[in-house]
Amino acid sequence: MTEAANTATAILPLWLEIIVAVLVLAGAALALLGSIGLLRLPTFFERVHAPSIIATLGCWLIMHGTVLYFSVADRSLALHALLIAVFVAITVPVMSIFLMRAALFRARQAGRNVPPSLSQPKAGVNTEVKDA
């Protein structure tokens, strides 16, 4: 029954299974670590660092496991999962920078103690003086 369900996995050698299992388990553990950091860290500007580990090392580890597994199971180079990792590597920093700028903007609007804006020095200095 199991052989009929997944015939592709039945032909895999043991060393490949061990490598894929280590890669996938390490990626999932890093995802758990990043989420625990998101949950436990005290302020937003510390919390924004924690999930980046999911998008970089966690995603790349699981992607390498997928590429290795399907390359050996199908006996041809299966690089389709690389597309996801490259896409995530491009988009997640853009999103993080936008979100951090939004958080800085909102913290300045609320008058909290954050660094002033560099693009509009006069406005930043004015709000800082007013807040102080």
Binding site: N6, V20, T66, M95, R101
Partner: protein, 92 residues
């Protein structure tokens, strides 16, 4: 037939589900709006990894499209919400 992967892939799925649970707690109790956007993006990324691991578990390449769509929607949604937090409008 697959003594290692049959044990490792459900364990990885369990860890990813715990990661999504942690992000969900942050999403529900996040003190500010940007915390909730960040937690939603974290949940999207964990869901994308779940799709990749499910593709390994069932030996099917069809989960790849779901993972790619999740990555795309994660980017578009988080970008729109960050733009809204920054400007008060999504499209100016």
């Amino acid at each position: 037939m697959t003594p290692v992967l049959d044990w490792a892939l459900p364990a990885a799925l369990l860890m990813l589900a715990l990661a999504m649970g942690c992000a969900l707690i942050r999403l529900l109790k996040g003190p500010s709006a940007q915390d909730r956007v960040l937690a939603l993006d974290c949940m999207y990324l964990s869901g994308m990894l779940v799709m990749l691991v499910l593709g390994l578990l069932y030996g099917s390449k069809n989960y790849f499209e779901a993972a790619l769509l999740l990555a795309l929607f994660s980017f578009v949604g988080s970008m729109a919400m960050a733009k809204f937090l920054l400007r008060g409008e999504v499209i100016e």
